[in-house]
Assembly symmetry: C3
């Protein structure tokens, strides 16, 4: 990635952008696991799209995030832990990026069902807004689940 000229004030910009975008994903897990839906919502752009799977209509717009996720956070889960790894970010321009990350998510249910496990990926897009980097699209794709509260998920696209 050499060949930079002398005016390389941009050099660390990709590092900063990667850091900011990675922090968005980690903040998503953090606030979700702490049951802070309004702080989850604040990580998204105003017109963001969130697609958690074929059983749900996608969530459209930041304002729709809280009503859609707060019920699960309050009523279904006693505890969750979203372990995000394999973060792969592609900077497409100064203001746009796409990302793929892995998540291993553990869920404890209020109703005493066996703990649910999810081995999955977040496929996402990011925009730099006046507020800073935000998530503009999040699609959850699952490699597999065990004792999970949802029966069908978007696939990761494994070749048959």
């Amino acid at each position: 990635m050499g060949g930079r000229g002398k005016d390389d004030y941009d050099v660390s910009a990709p590092v900063d952008a990667r850091q900011a975008i990675t922090d968005l994903l980690f903040s998503y897990a953090w606030h979700f696991d702490r049951n802070e839906p309004e702080l989850v919502a604040a990580l998204f752009t105003e017109d963001a799209s969130l697609d958690y799977g074929p059983e749900w209509d996608p969530i459209r717009g930041r304002a729709a995030v809280v009503p859609r996720i707060s019920q699960g956070l309050e009523e279904i889960f006693e505890a969750t832990s979203h372990h995000i790894s394999n973060v792969m970010i592609t900077l497409e321009s100064d203001d746009e990026a796409s990302g793929r990350a892995y998540v291993y998510a553990w869920h404890r249910y209020r109703d005493g069902s066996p703990d649910g496990h999810l081995w999955a990926q977040y496929h996402s897009r990011f925009l730099r807004t006046a507020e800073g980097w935000r998530i503009s699209e999040l699609i959850l794709r699952a490699a597999g689940t065990q004792d999970f509260h949802r029966a069908t998920m978007h696939p990761i696209g494994r070749r048959d």
Copy 2:
């Protein structure tokens, strides 16, 4: 990392600090899982505090680390694996930082008990000492456990 001009010694410092601090957490897992308590201890400041939960008094000072953790490493665990992710570091000054990271820890017991699982977070503080960055405070907070050898843990602070 050669070839730097004389005025740029600050440029990579934040990146280097993040890297050094992240390496401390990964080295903690590495040496713990290899049953090397004295190398775990060396990652901490002389007066560090380690709080693994309400069932134990916090460990006070680097010199107390080895006697406190070596028994478990020797007698309780046949094997462990600490998978650290979601590393979020805040640089507070050139010499101080705080961090939050997730850990999914797997434990195999010498007595044949079912494997123990821990979904948790490390809440920590770091200081840059004459020896380099070291951990000055580590608090383990658990989202949940399964078949774990300890009954109560510090909570992550999930909103009720």
Copy 3:
């Protein structure tokens, strides 16, 4: 992160190398989990060595990767998910690096056996080739397994 001098075009080079090497590991997981053995193979040097454990002869050379891993990907696994964390990279020169990383790998079997779990480490070496950074050596070392399809693994080297 301002205050840069004009000669600092080397500053981010180590960051770029770490990023490129980390991406190799994440791409390995990505293509493995998508059942794309030829894209897994492309991450390795022409004369790379892959050692998955004492039950297999090591794979020698990029050309041998596809025939050796494609059978498992096709016939044994219905799905897999390789969650890579604790990535520790040592840059040994401009063109050589070594790395250690953790992996928690989940496996669903075609024959309906219980899901296999692997808590392990990749010990690896990397070379910068004309094509960019590639993996020249990969050794899988396991802390432990549960319901896994292989009985013996290289150990992580835990002290007795």
